[in-house]
Symmetry: D2
Subunit: 353 residues, 4 copies
């Protein structure tokens, strides 16, 4: 396996940065959903480059459905295939990169794994561009889940040392992001933009966190041990390039807490069993307890920076300095927000079916 | 699925806290390994209760092999089944717990998922006791990996606000733990013991972190996207009860770093490609780069505390206070260390085969 | 994989002919079913040796549940593990067989696959004895399915050139087998017994077919292409040792038919869509159409025969004659009938969940 | 699951008869193979319609690679996606078929499974046209296997009551098919053509068998019980529409044989262990023994015949006669031969990796 995910909902991603197209096949998606093309386009636009603070590359990211819909545009039970053509690929020479891998990239590991035949152009199958097909699949899942009353949202919770407001762990609300930018707090949004902008000016990049919240799931979703909701979310989140950490509910903070602080007392609200606090992030024993699921994902700074960096010339096996040119995001976190939503939706729908 | 893990190495755990036995089936384990029963026993003893600072329950945890070995005690290619009898189970009445679930436990979610027939005795299949079969499987994998030059170690990296020394990210050494306790630094070990002891005195519990290091893997292990080494480790770590966070290499710290700080420059050492730093934790694009894999796992404080807690009587649907009696670990982290090693070994061997 | 089957219902078989025990883990079985131990015993007895016309070995085949049941003997949602101890194993020397493999056995192929460490005693993991755990899992599934109105039956449809009556393809009845022998027609049963008995007298064995029928499934079960009902049944039937053919409905006869003969006209019976004939065996496009599922499985004659046979001494790489001693079934088909029912039930329940 | 196959080589088929395209994603294919586009085209042409004795529909079946190849046309380790555009689709009205299902088709079962949203046009995802993507995947696997010395061939072994010569079970030769038609014996080929032609004249169709042979595998491929070579081949063969039976080696004939006839004596040829006969079809205990693998697959006559047939009007729930118009194969077996080869290659490569 590798680019294939899921048990009941199979999501198979394909494509390289410079292959004719990238895309996804979704097998097992329920029949009868009229695909909301406007929602899909709007969702794809949130991930697309060419926005403020992201790479100036312009990717049309126009989604073409090759299969899975009937004549009325409804899902028909057949595997859904949707693709995006790779149009705006600069046909530059990548042979230098093949010899001198970029630090903290997959350039070296992909060589070891696939040999000289690997597709090095634009990062090949390791390109962040491959998150676009994840977003197609995710958008369909989000639409389906929304029709079932399940809502998923995410925001930039931190960049460098600037922290956005946190999601409330207990209530069922998912506050809107600041218009055009994935933060809750408008002031923090501006500070984050500045941090990113100054990183760009310094030919550098910055890391950050994305926080997500899922409401409306009810209790009883997930399986014990290896297939708990946490296991499934963790597994899929690390499919997003640059992710180096994942935590649920109170997350790493639980390590410095007493049981009496961390335990979530049970209570009855409107005749339903709830918890007073939600350090568990909505999950006990791998299974949802009807409280909101809240989790955070840590993204490293984009490794592609214009500053000169030490690498190794693999032909001559000697160290040398590398200068990466090209168009790169100074902070991948901005565009990662919808990807986190998309992956959440895929994992959740796979468990629900 | 649920208690079944792996692609090429299938690990199927079974048992409940009070069922006749708990155990594991390991399908796909290579034939020809003479099982080192002494190593296995010693490894199991590290997880077993009855140690200083853990529950006074005495579990023999004697491993019986039902299948998978030939007459000489070598793995023969057939699925290996090994069990531990549940002997020391107090046959007390669990009907009260069935009505008033313990906060931050699976008592409520298991009811929603499985109904009244679920096995509530001692936590049923959600009991921490189910980590013993994981340790059996892990011990076999550890032995096999050791014979291939792969070494795995773990230690308590923090409890409450006391932090043990960190593993070096760059070198290939795994320092021994302080005798009889899973810390590197003897002084910190004593401080951690005090913190745990005082939590116990207060009828409370404490959380903590486990850090693990894997060396000797070489480059090229793991697959892109959904089946990267990080995905696989994250998925299996959340199978250990009480885990709420997982991070690799620099982990969540990457979120507050610049690319120029976080990138790991490549270098040549002894004719091999290495990195100067190892914020990546040995993994680029999901694939090992031959540097040590280092990761940390956050454990919440044991939810079973003797202090009275607010719960809900599900029969009458009203809030009431609950006092849990019985024998419980004040800090599960101590016994979780070998479980983290075991799960690492299972995940790594599954990817290697 | 290998001894692990299923998507939603995971069945993991383990054990060798002479290991301490053989058994099965069933993960994903619905909670809340009170296991009918009498039905289970009676079902196991149908497969057990020591019957008329089978090997005189006496296997107690007593089933012990290690996990998966609650205190009341109901399935509790946890993986079910059940074992049978291997008691009556003759500790004879198998080293000769390791050098001179039995023709048409797995003795040679298991050596190539697993090397010298494979367990050769009594056929190891390839022993027909491993169908006992399949029967445990199957009996539980059969009970569950019966409670949902799904009935499964099988009979010896032929041995050598003697053919029992066929199941009716159209009606929903499954005629009882002749008491104590798995045939429908009492006269044919006697003829089959004679054929088997005379094979035994000649130190030989005979092959035969088992036919199975599944009713009560309704329409809509199964998935297109790789996961149709036929695919799933075929895959699991070949898990039974000695199976060399599988056919559904009219089976191989369709190859010599015209479309106008073979097509099953649709009709309305009691307000429901049915077909007039059932050459399809209840399946169109991999999906059930509510007609009975009928299929046949071909079993080769037991390869273990007392007659001297040509083999190869692997040490000296020269041909030599082999005489197999020991207790062997002259016709495995007799005891295979419940195994076919068991495997059918496992496959069907996995698809239904 | 459903249209997804394989463990190490994942094959995901997608598309409907009238969707914009049909295609396949192949994940896990080894990197470094230069795709032989001429071989691929020639292979696709063998399955394509528009040949003598098949439907007059002209399908271009031109394969477009969307991903998985590097700039030099070599497999690069990334998932391979290849599609065929659906161009020659008649946009006729399918609403009648939606009400009155064709006998022995999936029209009724797909309605039950997917509801009114299923894609009924041209058979939707159940169309025989979906075997084209299987052929793409198969052609790549065949090329790879050929480079490793594994050869796979198939031929029409029977149509109605005309039988082509059988493959020799023992030697390693795969005789060529008669030019332009998949038979070994030229005379039989002519007879088969006549039978098909006369069925067409009678507005009818005929069934038949395909026999396949795989040589060069060596011993040791396959796993015990559920993942034997037979299980895997059987599972994938039933993915081809119209298949109703599968048998290996001597197949159903074993049921009427004595053990002393059916057992394959071992012998030494050129210093290698072989068998004198090969009733086992090259497989013992699910594992290859280095003898040729030979198996047969039974195909029912195409259900689409022009003769009027009894069906049910589902709206009014009454029986009525149906006349199917359109272009249909009088004998699907002719075009199924390369599909059997393709599926064999997919299954074999998945087991080999």
């Amino acid at each position: 396996m590798s680019s294939s995910y899921g048990n009941k909902l199979k999501v198979q991603v394909f494509g390289q940065s410079h292959s004719p197209a990238i895309g996804v096949v979704i097998d097992g998606f329920p029949s009868g959903m009229k695909v909301d093309m406007e929602f899909l386009s709007a969702f794809m636009a949130r991930r697309a480059p060419g926005q403020a603070l992201s790479t100036p590359r312009k990717e049309a990211d126009e989604v073409e459905f090759l299969s899975g819909l009937n004549a009325s545009g409804e899902t028909c039970g057949a595997p859904i295939c949707a693709i995006i053509r790779n149009t705006n690929t600069r046909s530059k020479d990548y042979s230098a990169l093949a010899i001198t891998p970029r630090p903290s990239h997959s350039d070296y590991t992909s060589l070891i794994k696939y040999g000289d035949s690997r597709d090095i152009r634009g990062g090949g199958q390791f390109s962040g561009r491959l998150t676009a097909p994840l977003c197609i699949a995710g958008a369909l899942c989000l639409q389906f889940l929304a029709e079932k009353g399940v809502k998923i949202g995410a925001h930039i919770s931190s960049v460098l040392n600037i922290h956005d407001d946190r999601y409330d762990l207990v209530n069922d609300e998912i506050p809107n992001n600041v218009r055009g930018f994935s933060c809750i707090n408008a002031e923090k949004a501006e500070q984050i933009k500045s941090v990113i902008e100054s990183a760009r000016m310094n030919l550098d990049s910055v890391g950050g966190c994305v926080e997500a919240k899922i409401v409306g799931l009810g209790a009883g979703l997930g399986d014990p041990m290896f297939d708990g909701v946490e296991n499934r979310l963790a597994q899929i989140m690390f499919a997003i390039p640059a992710v180096k950490g994942f935590e649920v509910g109170a997350g790493f903070e639980v390590a410095s807490k007493y049981g009496s602080e961390n335990n979530d007392p049970l209570c009855v609200i409107d005749g339903k069993v709830k918890t007073v606090t939600n350090n568990a992030g909505g999950i006990n024993g791998g299974i949802t307890n009807s409280m909101p699921i809240v989790f955070r994902v840590a993204f490293k700074p984009t490794p592609s920076i214009a500053k000169p960096q030490q690498s190794v010339n693999l032909k001559e096996m000697k160290e040398e300095f590398l200068e990466i040119t090209g168009r790169h995001d100074p902070c991948i976190v901005v565009r990662a927000v919808p990807v986190v939503e998309a992956c959440s939706a895929i994992a959740v729908l796979d468990m629900m079916l």
